[in-house]
């Protein structure tokens, strides 16, 4: 489907994954996704406190649909997540960005500027584990929308 190929993902995170298992897991889903979906991971920024971190994340995702990851955010099911992705595809969205903060999370301005504030869980997850869960979920959503068996079997 043309619309699907045209919509790209950016994952913008403060802090590079450093734990071996997390790097491997992210690479696992990034490789699977790359067969049918463009996704880039940007971790260009040093930890600089929440105000500066948030400004960096916003500046780098200008003009995209923005999802802030925040444990106080909305809890989506996989099918609700997929419904959002499908709506973005159909409306011709070029890029969706997921913004992951540093040690102190996002500031209020970032939350206000984002289109959605999403909680992967009410549990506090280690930063790089949250990144891994997000990658698996984006892979799951696209598999589901393509009718691939992964979502049912996973």
């Amino acid at each position: 489907m043309q619309a699907e190929a045209n919509m790209k993902w950016t994952i913008a995170a403060i802090g590079k994954p450093s734990l071996d298992y997390a790097k491997r897991g992210i690479s696992e889903y990034a490789t699977r996704l790359s067969r049918f979906q463009s996704i880039e991971l940007r971790t260009d920024w040093k930890e600089s406190g929440s105000t500066k971190n948030s400004a960096n994340l916003l500046a780098s995702t200008e003009g995209t649909i923005r999802i802030a990851l925040d444990e106080r955010g909305e809890l989506w099911s996989t099918s609700q997540f997929a419904a959002h992705v499908e709506a973005w595809q159909l409306s011709g969205t070029k890029r969706v960005s997921c913004l992951i903060g540093g040690a102190d999370g996002h500031d209020d301005n970032l939350r206000a500027e984002c289109d959605h504030v999403l909680a992967l869980s009410r549990l506090t997850l280690q930063h790089e584990l949250a990144l891994l869960v997000l990658y698996e979920q984006i892979y799951r959503v696209h598999s589901y929308l393509r009718g691939d068996p992964y979502h049912r079997e996973g």
Copy 2:
């Protein structure tokens, strides 16, 4: 604290983790936990459909506090999870079991027999990623209760 050392965890899951990253991640947190907490992973059962799977999980966790993992369950924050663990420790609980179902999840009888039904997320997570999230969370909860810095820094 004596009570902490006395309370043990069993994670009883249908299906062994097979993805490399998940095995490494589970091992990462199991190793960290083993410094101060007993935790065993039991994956002795073949996938046999939800009724038989649920019967196997219940039979193997008789006499323990049981938590069924189910995406329709209660959403706990890390501090709510920690409050439960602290209450179990103080009441002299010997063992807490987390029950993770197979492809079709748990049956109604298992949910009724368990003390709690917990959702790690409203998102559907790959089976072995859910196991990894659970391990990280048990490690986080015990770090938090011990006053270790991990919970704040993670």
